[in-house]
Symmetry: C2
Subunit: 449 residues, 2 copies
């Protein structure tokens, strides 16, 4: 059926994604050959230890510990080792031979993407990485190709399944952060060391990648503002719920014009309040979703599994088949575009809204004092809710702040839009104010409907 | 900045989508040139009447009534006239000169796609049509490229915004079908002649296109089973709501193995009950969404605006930029793939579930008689709810069917999965049975969670 010579495919790494990619390549060989127009020949799988136990039963003779030798003579190299070294050197070696490369390595693309894209462009090879962001969900290709004639204004992404699982458990079951994390670990959603997920580092890399593509601009990962979910309390979740919000860890990429008229972009990651009516609010469990606002297209959302070996393998194979088809047809790669080269703004420059939960001394005049702090920082109050918290068990009861001298009151204050700089300075001033006992929660509100 | 010669773009049609495409091409010329690597030069806009009033103010000198002359000498032709003639001949003319073609013409792609794709393949040109299905939502490219290495099992799509708007109004506001249609017409969601939308013809064309791509098989539009929403009553909507369902007009494409072991595909359009917890249930107003189940990727959903001039223009421009980039880079088109060539099965072969609402005579033994009809057709009952409807105003009150001789009872019967053939025969037999007064509703249940 296929007159064309086989496309030689080398696989680097045989973890949860790599072993599924190998399995599907072998099991669906005929179907894939028909789609490509030539057989896809898996020439080998490079691993550190060829005798290690694998999730999937694969032919032993495919394994090798000599990645460099495997790469030489390959048409397409699939890199699923993760991490910077030796992945970067091996990808560079593959590109130097003119091979196309498919990778799921978000850390590498976020840190060294531009250098590798340049190398690929020079040799006319393709470097694709659909699996690096939001697992199985097609998002890189839609942003780069389908929206190529549009102007992306904003992306709000739930791009880390572990933290979404944890926050969803806290919201729907009332688990504490610690309980939810333990369950996530037991179920395999969280790594033994969960820092990359709950610290927001994983989402930070993905935000850098999404912003780069959406805005045609190099976005170094260290310019992406990052806050994790480690400080989120069940009290915050419950207050959010009562107010019609859900807390989500968001990767936010947007075009921004500062008050000084500077046009730039912002990429940032933090937990934020999202209205329960927003499409992102109904993304449950370990799922991911990317909400895109474009000038012409309006609001789009891409939803699906954000992780998992076989799910991520789907994205890897999509890139592989596309590269292989172009090899058969003789076309060059498309390359990345960073022509816009917009400045990446500090988080202080961006405009957002805060919800601040503040425990204050319950004595006459306290509301006026707090209101003056807001006014001093030029921030307008949008909503204000007040409760007495004088009772020993801390249960909220209806009360008044300008009342007795014992106990305290809790103020839940929503602000109008203001710069992050003004809002964070305000929050600090409130914490230091002698009328306040404790700032129990500061969260931004995103995804206005 | 751009050393490359301009890409010559001809536009056929200046309706709501065409005028927006022209506007964006002119207004965003610099940005688009940077993305493509060469200027996109709009050489003209072919229309029937060059003096007609347009939605958008465009330079008068661009307009011509000589489409053929405009096409000759173009690199890329954008066809936004709609309909079969003269669109088909003009696209064929453009392809014969080696020009790439971008179209939003679902009727043409559904009816004559294979012939035009063949022609494009022979000359190495590209024929792209992202805008033909689900407006601004990137769905064609994700299905064709991102999921190219996966195996799509099922697609459930809300692909017609007009009917979704109408059904959503009925569900959320209690409007009758007539009221909701009138509002849709007033708001510009529905055409003066709404037959194509409410009759399901528009969704039928889109189902044929989606099934062709997902299953690598030619799917003639006339093999897509079609039912519209014209028979849907507010009573059915309200019963659905009470039972935890919402009624959606679905385009369904799935791989099917019949009881005889025949592997094939089914493409069909009908209003169906969808569980309110299903992601498709929360697609409101005129929006579209396509829910895809793939073997490796699992469940994905693509959501956004399904229609609208500027939104659809976004999809057209995405195709245009992709084609233009490949022209600059020198690559050939990707072509369509129909290698799988699976049989398209009759709707009778597929397996589904029914919800049947039946008014019966309220007399002893009636339940046993009805139960026997189910058993005769080999269909198992999953749920059964019964209400007396003896009162004059028809209000449902708790009651019993095996009771008095006056009045009637309403049975709401949910079936287990069975073939469409058995289920439709069963529904006919129930309607004809002497114990039944009226079958007030038969709807399929789709999207099991």
């Amino acid at each position: 059926m296929n007159q064309n010579r086989p496309i030689r495919v080398a696989l680097l790494g045989a973890g949860s994604v790599g072993s599924q990619v190998a399995r599907i390549l072998l099991e669906n060989a005929d179907e894939l050959a028909a789609r490509v127009g030539a057989p896809l020949l898996l020439t080998g799988i490079a691993v550190r230890n060829v005798d290690a136990k694998r999730d999937v039963d694969l032919p032993k003779e495919l394994f090798t510990d000599d990645a460099e030798r495997l790469i030489l003579g390959s048409d397409i190299v699939i890199e699923l080792m993760g991490g910077i070294d030796p992945a970067k050197g091996l990808i560079s070696l593959a590109l130097s031979t003119g091979a196309d490369v498919v990778t799921a390595n978000k850390a590498l693309i976020a840190a060294h993407g531009p250098e590798l894209f340049d190398q690929a462009r020079r040799v006319g090879a393709q470097l694709t990485y659909e699996a690096a962001v939001a697992g199985a969900i097609p998002i890189i290709r839609p942003l780069r190709d389908s929206l190529a004639g549009d102007r992306v204004e904003r992306i709000l992404g739930i791009v880390n399944g572990t933290t979404n699982f944890i926050l969803d458990r806290m919201h729907t079951r009332g688990d504490s952060l610690e309980e939810a994390l333990r369950i996530a670990t037991d179920l395999g959603y969280a790594e033994a060391d969960p820092t990359a997920d709950i610290g927001g580092y994983d989402a930070q890399q993905k935000a850098a990648i999404l912003a780069s593509i959406a805005f045609h601009t190099e976005v170094p990962v260290e310019l992406v503002h990052r806050e994790g979910i480690t400080e989120i309390t069940i009290e915050q979740i419950e207050r959010a719920k009562a107010a019609g919000f859900v807390v989500k860890l968001l990767a936010i990429c947007e075009r921004v014009t500062t008050s000084d008229g500077v046009e730039g972009i912002s990429a940032r990651v933090y937990p934020a309040l999202v209205d329960t009516q927003h499409p992102l609010a109904s993304v449950h469990g370990g799922n991911n979703a990317v909400f895109v606002q474009a000038q012409a297209a309006g609001d789009l959302m891409f939803y699906g599994a954000g992780a998992g070996g076989v799910e991520t393998a789907s994205a890897v194979l999509g890139d592989l088949v596309s590269s292989a088809r172009r090899r058969v047809n003789g076309g060059p790669g498309l390359g990345e575009s960073t022509h816009a080269d917009l400045p990446v703004l500090e988080v202080g420059e961006i405009t957002t809204r805060y919800q601040i939960i503040l425990e204050v001394h319950d004595r006459p005049g306290v509301l006026a004092e707090i209101a003056k702090v807001f006014s001093d920082f030029g921030v307008s109050v949008s909503t204000l809710e007040q409760r007495s918290t004088g009772s020993a068990d801390g249960a909220a009861t209806p009360g008044h702040a300008d009342g007795g001298s014992e106990g305290g009151a809790t103020l839940v204050i929503g602000t109008h839009a203001a710069t992050e700089r003004a809002l964070s300075a305000l929050a600090e001033a409130l914490a230091a104010h002698e009328a306040s006992r404790r700032v129990t929660g500061v969260l931004r509100v995103e995804g206005a409907l």
